[in-house]
């Protein structure tokens, strides 16, 4: 071995600068390290430049700018703290989304707020820091494009899924936008980035796998809505309620045909009037949703848009609650028998205010209120007819 002279050391320093090690303190340290390696290999007869080239080849000199970048980032404590924050935000938001989804599935209170906050943390906290730190570690035009497009796609899709789950307007627009950017922007950039680093033999299977994964993800996103079984179950309830309404209405009519009593007529008039309000609200909801006859294939069953317009803006929700409660009070004053009173209270209990539910749930609720009105009417009239006999 022999010691490097100043000229040779200067050569190493200049060459490192040419190779992209632009920070002086890093260049000096790396030059000393390379110098130490060279000194082990050099003899008095060795050709310095030849040995130097061999050393550069062995350390993969093309990676030197990346090494400098890594050193600079490791010195930057703020950057390190940001990386740790990214992991923490990711963990918190993942826990919130999973918890929110479980609560939502079981219709437990608090699900909406947890899902909303979790999505907010991902979109405004985790994703920006993740893409920023990834870009900083490998800055290039491709990685910047990748980070920016990736953020837009992820933010749009996640926000769209949240909006869909919460039945807020704009969900479909966000999902569609996210899907378009995913297919036309993110996917091609990702394929290019992957293919640069993948050995030739694996490229075709990798490409097929990426296509399948993307197609599956798109398909899954497009099918977020009520499941078929859920719809069948609730439409079944809706139809049974309608059927029961007609039955008890006919039974009550049959009872009143043979009796002419002012109180019975009053009960009949009020229940007809209330039934009319309920039926008109149902029809208005269906019309607003562009549905003629409700079925499993009907669109917008999981939407809250029509319900918002009819039940909130036109205040039909409040009208139904107030009218039904008033009818219940009237019936309770009209009947004497404690058992009948109890039955009326059970059917007409305390009708709640409309609670921002979907079209399908709202229609089922209204149909069941209609049924209960007719059942309470029938019980009340039965008692009054029996009393008169």
């Amino acid at each position: 071995m022999r010691i490097l002279n100043d000229l040779e050391f200067d050569f190493i320093l200049d060459d490192l600068e040419q190779l992209g090690v632009t920070r002086e303190h890093i260049r000096l340290e790396l030059a000393d390290h390379i110098g130490c390696i060279l000194e082990q290999l050099l003899t008095h007869e060795s050709d310095f430049r030849m040995e130097y080239s061999k050393v550069l080849e062995s350390i993969d000199s093309s990676r030197l700018p990346a090494v400098q970048r890594k050193i600079l980032l490791s010195e930057n404590l703020k950057f390190q703290a940001m990386k740790k924050t990214t992991y923490v935000l990711g963990a918190i938001s993942a826990i919130m989304l999973v918890s929110g989804a479980i609560l939502k599935t079981n219709h437990i209170a608090g699900a909406s707020i947890i899902l909303t906050i979790g999505t907010f943390i991902i979109v405004m906290g985790f994703l920006p820091t993740l893409f920023y730190t990834s870009y900083k570690e490998e800055p290039s035009k491709l990685s910047f494009a990748f980070a920016a497009i990736g953020f837009i796609v992820a933010a749009s899709l996640l926000t769209g899924v949240l909006f869909k789950a919460m039945h807020w307007p704009g969900a479909n627009v966000l999902l569609l936008f996210g899907q378009i950017i995913l297919v036309t922007g993110f996917f091609p950039a990702y394929v290019v980035a992957i293919f640069r680093n993948v050995p030739s033999k694996q490229k075709i299977p990798m490409f097929i796998m990426l296509v399948l994964i993307s197609a599956s993800a798109l398909f899954m996103i497009s099918t977020i809505s009520y499941g078929k079984e859920f719809k069948e179950q609730h439409i079944g309830r809706y139809e049974k309620a309608n059927s029961a309404t007609n039955y008890f209405s006919n039974e009550a009519n049959a009872l009143t045909d043979s009796f002419n009593s002012s109180i019975i007529n009053e009960i009949k008039n009020r229940s007809n009037k209330l039934d009319s309000i309920l039926e008109n609200t149902k029809q208005e909801l269906l019309k607003e949703s562009e549905i003629d006859v409700i079925s499993v294939n009907s669109k917008h069953l999981d939407s809250k848009s029509a319900c918002y317009k009819v039940m909130i803006k036109k205040e039909k929700g409040a009208l139904i609650a107030n009218s039904t409660n008033a009818y219940s009070e009237f019936l309770l004053q009209s009947v004497k028998n404690a058992k009948t009173k109890h039955v009326v209270e059970t059917y007409l209990g305390n009708i709640p205010w409309y609670d921002n539910t979907t079209l399908l749930i709202t229609l089922v609720d209204i149909a069941e209120i209609q049924r209960n009105v007719r059942m309470a009417e029938y019980e009340a009239i039965s008692e009054l007819v029996t009393a008169k006999k």
Binding site: F9, D32, A66, V67, K70, L77
Partner: protein
Amino acid sequence: MISNDLLKGTLRTIVLKLLKENSRLYGYEITQKVEELSGGEIKLTFGALYPVLHKLEAEGYVVTEKEHNGKRVRIYYSLTPEGVSWAQSLVDEFEDFVLTMRLILQPLPAQ
């Protein structure tokens, strides 16, 4: 040859332990000692080593000392008092981990 994934999680411990046992070392010296002590199994590249050293310096666990020899500058690393106590705790923690892994990975007794 030890895999990079295993090495990534232990590099700090290795560097701190070496600095604790030697008053001061420079980068190339650290790579040589690691290779020697590991019987050639671990060959540290400067891409792996220097980010760790600079991060330790930024965190206050090591200090640097420059020695000029003509145009050549050699940077020596040594532990601060915080670095000394942290090095010991990392080594203790890793030794507990190795013991635990041995218990898990030891072959089952013949039945």
